[in-house]
Amino acid sequence: MANLRDIRRRIKSVKNTRQITRAMQLVSSSKMKRAQDSAIAGRPYSLILANMLNTVSTAYKISGETIEHPFFQAREVKRRGIIMLSSDKGLCGPLNTNLFRLITEEVKGDASFFSVGKKGAQFIQREGLDLEVAYEISDKAETNEVSPLVEAAIEAYKSGKVDTLEIAYPSFINVLIQKPVIMPLLPILDLETLLEQLKNKIKGESELAIEDSRAIAFEPSPVEILEQLPDLYVNFMIYQMILESRASEYSARMVAMKAATDNASKLVDSLTLDYNKARQAAITQEILEIAAASAA
């Protein structure tokens, strides 16, 4: 039977840990709410932006011209460019591990990585992958923190250093489920599928206008609009994914910390039982000794 004092000490330490994990659970749940709101708030924007881009590029194709913009041209893929969004801190369950497993499985050939988050940078170094640049973006994810990443990624694509741009991130499905995905961003080839996906995600929050058979007017001109719009699209998509991965991170952490708190409670219960048993045994022992001594 374990020493009484040892058990008491363990109970105390488990209780302390439980207090910490419970605090972390509460903190993440309030942060999650905010992150979730801002991720969801950006969805109508992304839908309409994608729709607009689709309208412009379709009108362009109908007129028989090819789109000169580099974002629309598929090149032979020699080297993939992957923007990986991971968390800075651990203790968020299998969130990062699942993402890393997906990367190991899916990315076989040459690839350059743009990493956000400490965990991702560590993973890339550990695996000996090609790290282009690593960024750390604070909780608030301000636009001016994100823009260096976007610029570096776009620059690498334009200069031909990488032939695609993809984002690997934990997609926020609901509080309990975060699914790691690799989403292609550039070149922009299949806007229709993308629109479908976005529509499914939003489900009735925002409806798109019905088709209009008349020819679309562009102001100032399709060429000029096509110069600005794709940049804005890439910029916003990356920003939106960062917000979404934040929401995923906090919900994963909240769930993980809830589980840890529950486990700690269970452990305290079973340790308390052990402690009481040990105490009872010690008392019985003492009584036996006294009885034996008085009998002698």
């Binding site: 932006l49 562009f218 102001e219 609009i225």
Partner: protein, 132 residues
């Protein structure tokens, strides 16, 4: 009636019906009534008017794009604010803040985005002066 929505990355700023909408574009103002041909246009930083029978609401918008299909206008902008929501103290503080940041800033890209923001607030300031 036209269906109008103004959407920024952070929120749906405004959504309502309107009789006429005036958009600030690179090549001048475009007035849109029902039955207008489908249109995609780039907006510049400027003033957008939403006009109804008896009232009109004015917005300051920080550039962006607008799409008009079947009498439905969707406006994508970084930021938009109605003149009804303007507050002198907030604008003044923002302008001071930005000017300070602009003086400290070293990177060209940052200066560019800051000066655009400054323009946006200056526009709000002039709209506010005009309103009162």
């Amino acid at each position: 009636m036209l269906k109008l929505e103004i959407i920024s990355p952070k929120e749906r700023v405004f959504s309502a019906e309107a009789k006429q909408v005036v958009l600030p574009t690179e090549s001048g103002e475009i007035g849109v009534l029902t039955g207008h041909v489908p249109l995609v246009t780039q907006l510049k930083l400027g003033v957008m008017k939403v006009i109804n029978e008896s009232s009109q609401e004015v917005f300051a918008i920080k550039g962006g794009f607008a799409q008009l299909v079947s009498d439905k206008i969707s406006i994508l902008t970084d930021e938009a604010v109605s003149t009804n929501d303007l507050e002198a103290s907030v604008i003044e503080e923002s302008i001071n803040n930005i000017e300070k940041q602009l003086a400290d800033s070293e990177s060209a890209a940052e200066r560019k985005s800051l000066s655009k923001l400054l323009q946006f607030y200056q526009l709000q300031e002039s709209l506010l002066a005009h309103r009162s």
